[in-house]
């Protein structure tokens, strides 16, 4: 791994990796550790392996997912609350009461997303937050294109129904 490659391809996606790790682990500290370990592992990639990697982002996402799942399984950490570190925002035009209500709704949506089954949660995260293509999601998670579409459809449908019923 050369410095240029690391600096141009890997380092810029560190926030994406962090958000993805945070989605899986649910812990800021765990997610930071995961990103640190992934970046270190990528930096130490053997020169002969570097040539075989076509999509660095997808490969890094795969490493992040695997490392995050390892941590989650070993510590059985699962969070059902909105992600840590997310700033609450309110509209300038809304009254305090409306802003509070809106924030409650936003937090409920975040909670719904976090409570989705693992595959749906990760597919929705990579598509709706990281804006990856279906192919990149399939490569990152090691699943087929059809599975990506099905899980995305189920995830969005689940949240929409919960929002309507709430």
């Amino acid at each position: 791994m050369t410095w240029d490659l690391f600096h141009n391809q890997v380092f810029p996606i560190r926030h994406k990796l962090y958000r993805f790790a945070l989605r899986i682990t649910g812990s800021v500290h765990e997610a930071e550790d995961v990103v640190q370990e992934v970046l270190e592992k990528v930096w130490k990639t053997a020169p002969e392996q570097v040539g075989n990697i076509q999509n660095w982002e997808a490969w890094c996402m795969t490493l992040t997912r695997n490392r995050s799942l390892d941590k989650t399984r070993s510590q059985t950490l699962r969070r059902a609350a909105p992600l840590e570190g997310v700033a609450e925002r309110s509209s300038d035009t809304a009254t305090p009461a409306q802003a509070t209500e809106r924030n409650d709704l936003v937090n409920r949506v975040k909670m719904m997303m976090q409570q989705l089954p693992e595959k749906q949660r990760l597919v929705m995260h990579l598509r709706d937050i990281e804006e990856l293509s279906y192919d990149e999601i399939a490569e990152s998670l090691g699943i087929s294109l059809d599975q990506v579409k099905v899980n995305l459809h189920r995830a969005r449908k689940s949240i929409r129904e919960k929002m309507i019923n709430d």
């Binding site: 560190r14 926030h15 990796l17 962090y18 958000r19 945070l22 930071e32 990103v35 992600l83 570190g85 997310v86 700033a87 925002r89 509209s91 035009t93 809106r102 709704l105 936003v106 937090n107 409920r108 949506v109 975040k110 997303m113 995260h125 598509r127 709706d128 937050i129 804006e131 293509s133 579409k149 099905v150 995305l152 459809h153 969005r156 449908k157 949240i159 929409r160 929002m163 309507i164």
Partner: protein, 204 residues
């Protein structure tokens, strides 16, 4: 500002829930809800896109590690300072002690070993010699103790006079060495001046 008709965004949203939109269409939907001018009929789903927007803003914090001293470190720092101070003090005390132990030898040398007295005086440091000068008045006869030594050297007893003579010889020797060193330094400086002038002559 994203200006989209309700029908257009509604149709796009229907496909979004089914997972049939492209990335570009999904960005348009997000931009519509971010703009703020949301159709009342679409308000129920607005929190969904605000949640996505907030999640997208989450970033890895770059922590600036500041090294702050913990209480335990303060104790160690204080202990190290005390140890350093004591060591320095001990070294100074030892030097002074050595000087003091050497000076009586130099002073007593004429009595015990007359043949080595010159060497002993010469080797004594300047401080020791000065110390000897301070000690000398004590050896002056009690009868003459109010009389300055230097003004009336003929009144000093022979033993003291001999010691003073030796001290003067030693000081003279030290002084001559200092003069010699200074002369050598002046000589070296003049050589340097001469060397500096060489390139200037060539340039001229």
């Amino acid at each position: 500002m994203i200006k989209m008709k309700y029908e257009e965004i509604h149709e796009m949203l229907d496909r979004y829930w089914e997972g049939e939109t492209t990335l570009e269409e999904e960005r348009k939907i997000k931009a519509y809800f971010k703009a703020g001018a949301i159709d009342e009929r679409l308000r129920p789903v607005a929190p969904m896109f605000q949640a996505l927007r907030e999640e997208q803003a989450v970033q890895l914090a770059t922590k600036a590690k500041t090294t702050t001293m913990r209480p335990q470190m303060y104790i160690w720092a204080a202990a190290a300072s005390v140890a350093l101070f004591l060591t320095a003090g001990w070294c100074l005390f030892r030097d002074v002690k050595e000087v003091k132990t050497e000076s009586p030898i130099a002073l007593q040398a004429p009595k015990a070993q007359p043949e080595s007295q010159e060497k002993a005086v010469v080797e004594a440091p300047i401080d020791a010699i000065v110390q000897q000068e301070k000690i000398i008045p004590k050896t002056v006869s009690p009868k003459k103790k109010n009389t300055p030594i230097r003004s009336k050297p003929q009144e000093i007893d022979p033993e003291t006079a001999q010691a003073m003579a030796e001290i003067k010889a030693a000081l003279a020797l030290v002084s001559s060495k200092l003069d010699k060193g200074r002369n050598e330094a002046v000589k070296g400086a003049s050589h340097l001046d001469a060397l500096e002038k060489v390139p200037k002559r060539k340039e001229g």
